[in-house]
């Protein structure tokens, strides 16, 4: 199997794995379950972006993964910390 086929195969499997978790988090209707979906698509998204940067030979996507990891963390902190006083 050629390298590019392996890469896109890996991408497909990874996306499927993330989607399985995401669907559970969508229909588990509690607020925290949905926060988990952000966490999942944060980590899984970083993994997919890294693989994409290899598959498309675009090293600039590594910066995208870095920003994604940083900003997803800030968003979840805003979700959990922002309203502790009035929730």
């Amino acid at each position: 199997m050629s390298i590019s086929t392996l890469a896109v195969l890996a991408l497909n499997i990874l996306l499927a794995a993330v989607i399985i978790g995401l669907l559970r988090a969508f229909w588990g209707a509690s607020l925290e379950d949905r926060m988990l979906s952000v966490l999942l698509i944060g980590t899984g998204g970083v993994a997919i972006t890294l693989l994409l940067s290899f598959a498309l030979a675009a090293p600039a996507l590594l910066d995208v993964a870095l920003v994604m990891a940083l900003l997803a963390a800030v968003a979840v902190i805003a979700l959990t910390k922002g309203d502790a006083s009035d929730d």
Binding site: L6, A10, A17, I20, G44
Partner: protein, 94 residues
């Protein structure tokens, strides 16, 4: 040789992330799910990062990948704690 090791690591990592997703579907309560998600996914991401570092074969990219992984480790450990604390506070107030 190095390439096959790299791909092996990538697919092992994907396996861990898949395991985390299965845990998210199957486990009974939110604390367990949090546990499955943050632990398995981070291990998976670590495997993928090291595999890709071998595949890219440039030290500057390897350092960047290591940085990304360390960052995700730090933030997701902390964020998991925040979510768990959020749920706990909510349950206590009820």
């Amino acid at each position: 040789m190095i390439e096959s090791i790299g791909w092996g690591l990538v697919f092992v990592g994907i396996g861990f992330i898949a395991a985390g997703s299965v845990g998210l579907v199957r486990l009974p309560d939110l604390y367990c799910r949090l546990h499955a998600l943050t632990k398995a996914d981070n291990l998976g991401l670590g495997c993928i990062c090291s595999g890709l570092a071998l595949l890219f074969g440039q030290w500057i990219i390897a350092i960047k990948l290591l940085l990304i992984w360390l960052l995700v480790l730090l933030t997701s450990a902390a964020v998991a704690h925040f979510i768990a604390r959020h749920v706990l506070d909510k349950e206590r107030r009820k």
